[in-house]
């Protein structure tokens, strides 16, 4: 054979594999409103940057006539490419090949690219579109899942891991996304659940559609399993690319700096906050009023909306923002919002991203449901995450900082590096109404007009304690600042913390209240 014939033979072989599951299956995929695995990879990566590995891998199963079946690439495409010129590892399950089912070789391809990502210190993007374990391969496919989960855990906190759910992701398969840092879902396409609607119906007698059980909306709003929700696959790919501009390639790097830009003029920091502590506003506008170009990438936008998390930049540097949201549930901490904030803080800490916290919250959500759901151990996650974090930590108290919430939201006592408070801040053991009822109980009870007396005492307490100056007089607050100074001082705080170095006690790992 001449070299040319060899090359032609190679091309022919590639041509066959590139057909995936064949025309019919690709048509079906399109009919479901889905792109093919290869189209997805090409849409996410820079043009012509994808290089595929393991194209000719085939399964070795023999049982159930599997030896007669050819599954191109064993139902998964893996490789490397670039996004905005930076290298990433990527894999995409190919639903057109045996429903993207996971067999031993399929799993080996995934673990190969995972190992590569970890070794080369670059992000891993996993596109999930699979019917689940390849039943014909039995325990081998279970072994495959286990090997993936182990690597997800090993890579956690070393490289960013993104999971993109573009089809079914059911049974054990869901645990790989759950172990990764960010999960992307697309309306009407993503389906995630441990047990599907049929099993739920036969075992439990509960009738539920796939969409109601584990559709994109469910995970974006109720379960909190998803971090980004999109209406189309292309919108989802834009979210992935945008997120990657904010985060570093590994825990040994910093996020890429961008040129500094002022916030947009429509976000006027002096016109957002009502001074009456019971009145709502959108705290995201405060974030936008300090962030470069007012650009804020919110994470878990629809889940536990009483806390806001996400990335922005100040003076070109990526910042992780955490903020109580007074317009939803008064901005309280509860089980869900604690989980949401705690995990985000730990991501920022692992990946060298300074954290800016905007605080305005009356405390924890009261109620039997919350107590029984374990708001104690969930709430503890916030304390744990802030205390553990050694990246620069800055807090700006906007209005209410009451009780346990004051301590939890990155207080001086959890080793915040900078504590700023606006003059509207109320830092106290509890709100004036509650405090006056306890402290002046006798006076109120014995007064001729208790309601009137309560009003007087609440006002008295508010006057004396519901301000930032008591905490400032004890050094718990570093500076009481004018709202218009906020961005300048945040910039200053980040600059001053550039070489922050903290020694923590030697340990294998902590035991956070999961």
């Amino acid at each position: 054979m001449s070299l040319k014939r060899n090359v032609l033979d190679l091309r022919k072989r590639k041509e066959i594999v590139l057909q995936g599951g064949g025309e019919e299956a690709i048509k079906k995929q399109a009919a479901m409103g889905k792109l093919t695995a290869r189209e997805r990879i090409e849409a996410i990566l820079d043009k012509d940057s994808f290089h595929e590995y393991d194209m000719f891998v085939e399964h070795q199963a023999k049982d159930f006539d599997m030896d007669k079946k050819v599954l191109h690439g064993d139902g998964v495409i893996i490789g490397t490419g670039t996004i905005y010129g930076e290298p990433v590892c990527i894999y995409a399950q190919d639903f057109t090949v045996a429903g993207g089912s996971l067999g031993l070789m399929h799993a080996r391809k995934i673990t190969k690219i995972m190992d590569h990502a970890l070794k080369m210190r670059m992000p891993l993007i996993g596109i999930n579109d699979s019917g689940g374990a390849r039943i014909q391969e039995g325990v081998d496919s279970l072994a495959g899942y286990g090997e993936i989960f182990f690597r997800n855990t090993q890579a956690s906190g070393v490289i960013p891991q993104l999971s993109v759910i573009l089809g079914p992701c059911a049974g054990g398969a869901v645990y790989s996304p759950a172990l990764t840092d960010f999960v992307f879902v697309v309306d009407n396409i993503s389906k995630m659940f441990i047990t599907g609607p049929e099993v739920v119906k036969t075992v439990l007698g509960e009738e539920v559609s796939m969409e109601e059980l584990g559709g994109a909306k469910v995970h974006a709003e109720i379960s909190g399993n998803a971090h980004f929700f999109a209406h189309t696959e292309h919108e989802c790919f834009e979210q992935i690319k945008k997120l990657l501009t904010f985060i570093p390639w590994s825990n040994q790097a910093k996020a890429k700096p961008f040129p500094s830009k002022p916030p947009r003029p429509e976000y006027n920091i002096e016109k957002i906050l009502p001074s009456d502590p019971t009145q709502p506003y959108d705290v995201r506008d405060i974030i936008r009023s300090v962030a470069d170009d007012s650009d804020f990438l919110e994470i878990q936008q629809e889940f536990a909306k009483n806390i806001v998390i996400g990335f922005g930049r100040i003076d070109g540097e990526t910042i992780g923002f955490v903020a109580n949201q007074p317009s939803v549930l008064a901005g309280v901490l509860d089980c869900d919002s604690s989980d949401k904030a705690g995990r985000f803080i730990r991501f920022c800490d692992a990946f060298n991203i300074p954290i800016v916290t905007f605080e305005d919250m009356p405390g924890y959500l009261p109620g039997v449901e919350q107590e029984h759901m374990g708001v104690i151990r969930h709430g503890a996650k916030v304390l744990y995450a802030y205390s553990e974090a050694t990246v620069p930590k800055v807090t700006v108290i906007l209005r209410k900082a009451y009780g346990g919430g004051y301590i939890a939201m990155n207080s001086r006592h959890l080793k915040a590096d900078f504590m700023f408070a606006w003059p509207t801040a109320e830092i106290a053991v509890m709100g004036p109404e509650g405090a006056a009822n306890i402290i002046f109980r006798k006076e109120i009870m014995n007064a001729e007009n208790p309601a009137e007396m309560r009003k007087i005492k609440v006002a008295e307490y508010r006057e004396r304690f519901a301000n930032p100056y008591v905490a400032a007089s004890k050094g718990y607050i570093d500076s009481v600042i004018e709202p218009s100074e906020t961005r300048k001082l945040l910039k200053h705080a980040i600059e001053v913390s550039a070489n922050k170095s903290v020694l923590t006690p030697c340990k294998k790992h902590g035991i956070p209240p999961f």
């Binding site: 075992v203 007698g205 509960e206 709003e221 109720i222 317009s327 549930l329 959500l365 109404e433």
Partner: protein, 104 residues
């Protein structure tokens, strides 16, 4: 933009104007425990009923077998008393939290 609808949430005596989440609205309201009411802890079907209405039972006596998730679950009397009412028949398929027995 549509007008935002605000609710009121009271915390420590202060009333906050704020929005509720769907999850908060749908939360399960707490009910005081009723020790004599025996409910299904899991959906399943009734294999066998071992007691009759009016029968005296001791705490720990077998009331019925509930098959769920391929397991035969023994449902035991939570208190000593008299079976006042049985709410199901042998072979019934019951959802979760369905009342099976009332014991007094």
């Amino acid at each position: 933009m549509s007008e935002i609808k605000y609710d009121k949430l009271e915390i420590d005596g202060a009333v906050y104007k704020t929005q509720f989440t769907q999850k908060f609205i749908n939360r399960k309201k707490w009910q005081a425990p009723t020790p004599g009411i025996v409910t299904t802890h899991i959906p399943g079907s009734i294999l066998d009923i071992h007691v009759k209405e009016g029968q005296e039972v001791k705490k720990g006596d077998l009331l019925c077998l509930l098959e769920a998730m391929k397991m035969h679950n023994k449902i035991l009397a939570p208190i000593t008393g008299i079976v006042k009412k049985i709410h199901m028949n042998k072979g019934d398929k019951l959802p979760k939290d369905a009342i099976m027995f009332e014991i007094e």
